[in-house]
């Protein structure tokens, strides 16, 4: 599904240039669950941003579902995000003062889905993450684990081809973290959802089928679990 070849990303110009990624080669098949690990600044977040069409690479090839997608405009990337990608962020990033259901509905609004259908799908996504009955709560009224479930429901509601999770358990205690990971693993197995996740913790990475180690902007090694 995803092919990265000789992918590089440089920030800044001239002497101030920083090479965040260099010569990254990676292929991901549909249905895989991949964990990216590595110290801070090793390039895993930059790689995630490029994979999720939040950023363009400086050099190299990025093939997504057999199309070259390395040089796209802002709007083209927005449309790819809208139709193919689901994001789960470390900081949950839910809209404050907005109910859980409305948060989950948000991506569907941008897909111009009719209100009734939107409601049905958002309710189904809430049920899938085990939050039925909490639809009317605002993020402030939910625990950290519940907020992250809402974020996962928001990422899932569009049936994305690829779920990107940037340290999804980073803000949670260990027990809640494992609950979230169990949820992601189940979605991967039951729905065949492709997941790429960034994490610092080895026991969280253990849920993935493959672990990719980053170091200094390139992939050091890959280990299959």
């Amino acid at each position: 599904m995803i092919e990265l070849q000789q992918l590089s990303k440089t920030y800044g110009k001239g002497v101030a240039a920083v090479e965040a990624l260099r010569d990254v080669n990676l292929s991901v098949h549909a249905g895989e669950f991949i964990a990216m690990m590595g110290p801070s600044g090793s390039g895993k977040s930059t790689c995630m941003n490029i994979l999720g069409f939040l950023d363009n690479p400086s050099q190299g090839c990025y093939r997504f579902q057999d199309s070259a997608v390395e040089t796209l405009s802002r709007n083209q990337r927005a449309l790819l995000r809208r139709h193919f990608i689901g994001f789960v962020f470390q900081g949950f990033n839910l809209l404050a003062r907005t109910t859980a259901l409305e948060n989950v509905e948000l991506p569907l609004i941008y897909r111009r889905m009719p209100r009734a259908e939107r409601y049905v799908r958002a309710m189904a996504a809430m049920a899938a993450v085990g939050l039925d009955g909490r639809e009317g709560h605002t993020p402030a009224e939910l625990s950290g684990g519940q907020q992250q479930r809402v974020a996962i429901a928001r990422a899932l509601v569009t049936d994305p081809a690829l779920l990107l999770a940037d340290e999804p358990t980073g803000n949670l205690d260990s027990a809640r973290g494992h609950e979230i990971m169990a949820l992601l693993a189940r979605l991967n197995q039951e729905r065949g959802l492709t997941i790429i996740m960034v994490t610092h913790e080895a026991d969280i990475a253990a849920y993935a089928s493959r672990v990719v180690q980053f170091h200094d902007g390139h992939i050091q090694n890959e280990v299959c679990n």
Binding site: N49, G52, L54, D55, R74, N75, A78, L79, R81, R82, H83, I85, F87, F89, G91, N93, L94, L95, A96, R97, L106, P107, I109, Y110, R111, R112, R154
Partner: protein
């Protein structure tokens, strides 16, 4: 998509109700100021027109001397009572003409005295001035010819001399002479120049000559044109030149004032004042717009994370831009509507206090509303553009 942007904007405004209201206040005051200025200005114009109308429509005033030549008036040949008669008799375009002569006289009745303008005039005067009798009777033709000592009282003189007593049939003293009150005139109110038209006593012209002024002259002739004042003006000028033996190459030694022209000048002046005040008020609308821009910029900074989330889940630049633009336009146009309501209420009370008629100009109300919405678009554009251009990665990291 427009509908969801609208409901989103309304929700955002409700969420920050106090701030939104304060932001709208600039527009509310701007719109209200424009409408109030124009409404009161139009009311003043209407009031002045009505006052000039009350002087008598189609009225011309003939007087000796040229208006614009300094000192020539005193030197000019005075008008004669026969001039008024000739104008009445010879010109079909003149409906009525009356010579008049005035003198300020202290009038006494019982213990009361009052100094007022006593006018000797002919019976056509009341026709020209569109003045009618409240009670009593008019001066008869016989009394005019004989110069009988009878008079008609204006409402102010009546009030000052008689209070609640009935003046009809009573005798008042004008200086040294005695004069019988035979009629009372209806109230005419203030003139456009601000003088009290009811502060007057009318008596037969010949009585005035004989008893008060002592000379057989008229200072002005009041004329009423049958229809077109400019044609009448030409006819009167021709006849007067002939009567006063003015050679073809010489200038007029009299002047004719058209009250319609004066009315036009005066209403023109208030109209200019109205547009001027309206323009000044419009500046406050622009200041209100800057207030909206300021708050929208703050709002974009505050909601950077929200914008980041929206962009990350696939909102297009133009969708984010539309969201903020709609919010600004909703703020400004809701402010516009509130301003219109405020203006309607305030104009009602101000017009009552200033005693001017309430003249609502619907085109100004519409224009003020459209302008307030345009202010939203113009001043909402920069903040909306700023929001749309945010980098989603940076925006999501924003604390």
């Amino acid at each position: 998509m427009w509908w969801s942007a609208l409901s989103l904007a309304l929700r955002e405004i409700r969420r920050n109700l106090l701030r939104s209201t304060l932001t709208m206040l600039g527009i509310i005051i701007g719109v209200a100021a424009v409408i109030i200025m124009v409404t009161i200005g139009n009311g003043t114009t209407a009031k002045i027109s009505a006052q000039i109308e009350s002087l008598g429509s189609n009225m011309l005033i003939l007087r000796p001397g040229q208006r614009f030549l300094r000192g020539s008036r005193a030197a000019a040949k005075p008008l004669e009572a026969s001039d008024a008669e000739a104008l009445r008799r010879e010109l079909p375009s003149v409906a009525a003409a009356a010579g008049i002569t005035n003198k300020a006289v202290t009038v006494v009745y019982g213990n009361n005295n009052w100094t007022t303008s006593v006018s000797g005039t002919e019976n056509d005067y009341l026709i020209v001035r569109k003045w009618s009798l409240a009670r009593g009777r008019l001066i008869s033709d016989g009394e005019q010819r004989a110069g009988a000592s009878v008079c008609l009282l204006g409402a102010t003189v009546q009030r000052e001399l008689f209070g609640n007593l009935d003046p009809l049939g009573e005798t008042i003293r004008l200086g040294k002479i005695a004069c019988e009150v035979i009629g009372l005139l209806v109230t005419k109110g203030q003139s456009a120049m601000g003088s009290d038209q009811d502060d007057a006593i009318l008596m037969p012209l010949r009585a005035h000559w004989r008893l008060i002024s002592g000379q057989q002259k008229v200072s002005h002739i009041y004329l009423s044109a049958r229809d077109d004042t400019s044609k009448t003006q030409r006819d009167v000028a021709l006849l007067m030149r002939e009567r006063r033996h003015i050679g073809p190459s010489d200038a007029d030694d009299f002047s004719i004032i058209d009250m319609k022209e004066i009315a036009k000048t005066m209403t023109g002046t208030t109209e200019i004042m109205t547009s001027l005040l309206g323009a000044v008020a419009a500046v406050s609308l622009i200041v209100g717009g800057i207030g909206i821009m300021n708050i929208m910029l703050v709002s974009v900074t505050e909601r950077t994370r929200e914008i980041g989330i929206r962009l990350a889940i696939g909102a297009l630049e133009r969708e984010v831009q539309r969201q903020f633009l709609v919010e600004a336009v909703v703020l400004s146009s809701v402010g516009g509507i509130a301003g219109i309501l405020l203006a309607l209420i305030a104009s009602y009370f101000i017009a009552g206090a200033l005693q001017v008629p309430l003249v609502f100009d619907s085109s100004i109300i519409l224009l003020a509303f459209v302008f307030s919405a345009v202010v939203g678009v113009v001043f909402g554009y920069v903040p909306a553009r700023k929001a749309a251009r945010l980098d989603p990665i940076e925006a999501l990291r924003h604390e």
